[in-house]
């Protein structure tokens, strides 16, 4: 299983059940890092603004920007992705 490093950048007092399921029980501390399977790290990064997948050293320059936003569709029946939604690495957001 490929593991990656995830950094917590949020406020104190937050506890993550998904982390607890992977051996990191307790409250997250700011700037704490966790080694997690890649799919778990992706889930965390998709769920919370406070988790950032740290780029591997060799690919740091091409690291994907983890912040994602969704533009309002022009109409509810015809969603149209906005240009800024398509960021490098967004294809990694697909659930395995």
């Amino acid at each position: 299983v490929t593991t990656v490093t995830v950094k917590y950048t949020g406020p104190p007092g937050q506890q993550v059940p998904l982390l607890a399921a992977h051996g990191h029980a307790g409250v997250c501390r700011p700037d704490e890092t966790y080694e997690l399977p890649e799919d778990v790290a992706e889930r965390l990064a998709r769920s919370s603004r406070w988790f950032r997948v740290m780029p591997a050293a060799s690919t740091a320059a091409a690291a994907p920007k983890r912040r994602r936003s969704r533009k309002a569709p022009a109409s509810p029946s015809a969603p149209e992705p906005a240009a800024e939604d398509v960021q490098a690495g967004d294809e990694e957001d697909t659930e395995p």
Binding site: P11, P12, Q15, R46, S48, R49, R68
Partner: protein, 326 residues
């Protein structure tokens, strides 16, 4: 709502741009998302007495949240009502001051909300965005935690959103043992008043009536204007020597100006919630007689107005260990 359910929220950078990565998941005692959709009603002569299908009209969404004030996540909720707080260092902690008189109503940030009911499989959840808090209330009573209720109005719902994984907010809750009220009458010396509870309800009077903001060609509101501000403070006077004074104030033809400072301060951590009303007048102080109940308190309702001396209306300050809510 069961314990497995959760809500989450995140501040948006702009109207129309939802944020799928949540910031806080404030624990709730209950929440209730609803769709508010008009139906196009046109009665026509049909030759029989049975109803026809009605087409949906303009829709928007509402969500009522109720829960204890958790010191880390609550300011994020409050910022969707009062606007962004002014944050600064306060000793070892950080202070976040919400002052609606310093905020352009157009700058109150829209938020994205997730509301998940996890008992069914798959879970039921609503992802709403372009949301503001219309009314925000806070209350503390004897033997209760400091609680709040937020009535959200949201323009949009994303049916294709994914359900995020929850992050529990385990930050502190304050309770009635930490709560106090301080009063100043007509600019006099501030003194503590013995009370049985305190609370307030603040409203932005958001304009969500499609008749006022709807546009042809769209089934959605394209804006959510902030209307007039309003605030009512409530407290239950328990001081026997002052019950008569507070009762009589509701009848004054030249009403006293009451300045209130309603606080909850943790004695060890120094985390604090402080709601200040710079000037208000009593509007209700019932004192019913009863053959079975002893009159040991009067529930005061007072309407806040902008104080002409300070130029202030109300402020809400929270002191916690979070750096900022920008």
């Amino acid at each position: 709502v069961s314990r497995i359910d959760y809500v989450g929220l995140a501040k948006q950078e702009e109207l129309g741009t939802a944020v799928t990565e949540m910031e806080y998941f404030p624990p709730q005692t209950e929440f209730s998302p609803t769709r508010n959709a008009e139906l196009l009603t046109l009665e026509e002569t049909l030759g029989d007495r049975f109803p026809e299908q009605k087409d949906p009209g303009t829709e928007f969404f509402e969500a009522n949240w109720a829960g204890a004030v958790h010191m880390a996540s609550f300011p994020r909720v409050a910022s969707a009502h009062f606007g962004a707080p002014d944050s600064g260092v306060d000793g070892d902690l950080n202070s976040h001051l919400f002052d609606p008189t310093l905020i352009d109503p157009n700058d109150i940030p829209f938020h994205s909300l997730i509301q998940a009911r996890k008992d069914p499989t798959p879970a039921i959840f609503d992802f709403l965005y372009d949301a503001l808090v219309n009314t925000l209330s806070m209350n503390v009573d004897v033997n209760t935690y400091l609680t709040y209720a937020a009535a959200w109005v949201a323009i949009s719902r994303d049916a294709d959103a994914e359900l995020p994984d929850v992050i529990r907010d385990t930050s502190r809750r304050l309770n009635f043992k930490h709560a106090r009220v301080y009063v100043s009458i007509n600019g006099g010396v501030e003194a503590e008043l013995k009370v049985g509870k305190w609370g307030f309800e603040s409203t932005n009077n958001l304009v969500s009536d499609p008749g006022e903001t709807g546009i042809l060609g769209s089934a959605h509101l394209d804006e959510l204007p902030v209307g007039n501000a309003g605030c009512t403070a409530t407290f239950t006077v328990r001081d026997k020597s002052q019950l008569s004074d507070y009762y009589l104030r509701a009848f004054q033809t030249e009403p006293d100006s009451i300045a209130l400072r309603m606080t909850a301060l943790h004695p060890v951590t120094l985390e604090k919630v402080e709601f200040k009303v710079y000037s208000c007048n009593e509007i209700d102080a019932p004192a019913p007689g009863s053959a079975t109940n002893v009159l040991r308190g009067i529930d005061i309702s007072a309407e806040a107005h902008k104080d002409t001396d300070t130029g202030k209306f109300v402020t809400l300050e929270l002191v916690n260990d979070v750096a900022a809510y920008a």
